[in-house]
Amino acid sequence: MTDPADLSIPEAAAKLRSGSLTSRALTAAVLARISARNPRFHAFTHIAADALDQADRADAMLAAGDPGPLCGLPVAVKDLIDVAGQPATSGSRVLQGRIADTDARAVVRLRAQGAVLIGKVATYEFAMVGPDLSLPDPPARNPWNPAHITGGSSSGSAAAVAGGLVRLAIGTDTGGSIRSPAAYCGCVGLKPTRDRVSRAGAFPLSPSLDHTGPLAATVEEAALALDAMSEGDWRAASARIGQPVTDLKIAFARDWFADDPQASESLIRAMDEAASTLSLLGAQITLVTLPDYAPYEAAASIILHAEALEEHRALIRDHAGDYGRPTLQCLAFGAAIDAEDVAKARQARTRLTAGMLLAMDGSDLILTATTLAPALPFSAFDGEKAVWTPMRTIAFNLTGQPALSMPAGFENGLPLGLQLVGRHGDEDLLCAVGHAFERATDHSVLRPPP
C-alpha cells in the first residue's frame, strides 16, 4: 500500500473526498516522513505544533463539503513568509525569536481552503545570499547529493519537495529564488505573473521584483497551488492540464544558454532533447534570438540592491552584528547606487519588457534553461563571499512574466532544469506544456534515494 506521504495532491484529494483517507492520517504520515528525512536534508526549521489540530479542522471542512483541492493537504512555507503562531525569522539572527502574529495574505488563502500549514522551511538569510554555514539553522541540502547545495533562496522549499518530505511548499522569487532551487533539486517551481499572488506578509527583498509562488513535485500540483493562492481574475493555471499542446508555438531561446561558456554540455544536450520532445508532442518549435540578457541582469541588479538596502536600512543601523557576513556584504553593495541610477534602471525596465514581448511575437512561450549547470558542492563556498551561479531567471522578475522551471535531465547524478516563460497571465499555457513534457519523459518521476 502506498505511504500517504507519497500520494500526489490529486490522488490524496480524491481519497480525502471519498473518505478512504483522513487529513489527520495524511498529516501524521507526512510528519513521520519529515521526522525520518529532515535530519539529512535540513529542509524544515520548524514543525507546527498544531498540525494535527489543523488536520482535524480540515477533516471537518471535508465532511461539511469540499472547499477546494488543497483542503486537508500539508503545505510547507518558506521562513520568509508569515504563518500566524509560527517562527518568522527570515533565516536570520536579526529576527531570531520572532513569531508571526498574522498570516501572510497568500497563507490566509491557503488556510481558508483547509490546507495544513505543517511548518516552516529554510531560506537563505533574508532571501539575499547563501548558503551561510554560520547561521543558526544549518543550510538545506540537496536531496540528490547532500554534499551539494540546493540553490536558493527557497532552499528548504526545494529540499522538502525534492526529498519527498512534502508535495508542496511555498517560496519567493526575486531573481530566481523559486526556479533555481527547483532546477538544482529536481522539482517544479512556478514564479507567477507579477502581482498574481499577494506578497503581503512576506519579508521584502526588493518589492518591485519580489514574487510569491509554489514549488511542487509535479506541474499539476504547482498549478493547483497557484490557483489556490491567486488574487483577482486570472485564467486558472490548471485549466489546460492534460490538453494537447499541438496548437502552441514555442520559441526556443537556445543561444541564451548555449553561447555561454558556463553552460555545461549536459545542459545543452538536455535542452535540445526537451525541444525535440516538445516537437514530437506536436508543439511548433522555432529557434529565436531573444534580446541580449546582460541589460536585463544589469537593470534588475541595480533595482534589487537599491531596494534591498532601503528595506534593511533601519535593521542594519540597530543589528548589523547579527547579520551573516555574506548577507551584510551584499547589502552593502547597494550603497554604490544612487536614486538616479535606479530611475534609469526603471526606465530601462519598461523598454526591456517591451523588447521581450516583441521578441515573443508569433510565439506562445519561450523555452530556455533555468540554470546553466547543476548545483555546486558546499565545498565551493568559503563562508565569506557570495558565489553567484549562472542562471537565466532574473530577466522575468524584471518583466513580470510567468516562468516555470521543471526537471529536464541530470548531470553527474544532479538535476538540470528547463524554463518555460509566457506572457503575463499565461500560466495555463506554461502548465499545459510542462505537464505534457512531464508525461512524455521520466525526469519528474525519478526521485532521490529515500
Binding site: I302, I316, Q329, A335, A336, K344, A348
Partner: protein, 49 residues
C-alpha cells in the same frame, strides 16, 4: 554619480549607514560595489543605444 566612484566615497556611504566592515568584508563589499557600477554603465549604454 560620476563613473569614477571611489573607495573613499563608498567608505563614507557605509559610514553614513552606520555600517562598519572589517578589512576582509570591506574588500568583498567594494568588489561588489564596483561590479554594480559596471552594471550601471551597462544600463546607460543600453538606454543610449
Amino acid at each position: 554619480m560620476t563613473a569614477d566612484f571611489t573607495e573613499a566615497e563608498f567608505r563614507a556611504r557605509l559610514a553614513a549607514l552606520g555600517l562598519t566592515l572589517d578589512a576582509r568584508a570591506f574588500a568583498i563589499a567594494w568588489a561588489g560595489a564596483r561590479h554594480l557600477r559596471a552594471e550601471v554603465a551597462k544600463v546607460d549604454a543600453y538606454l543610449a543605444s
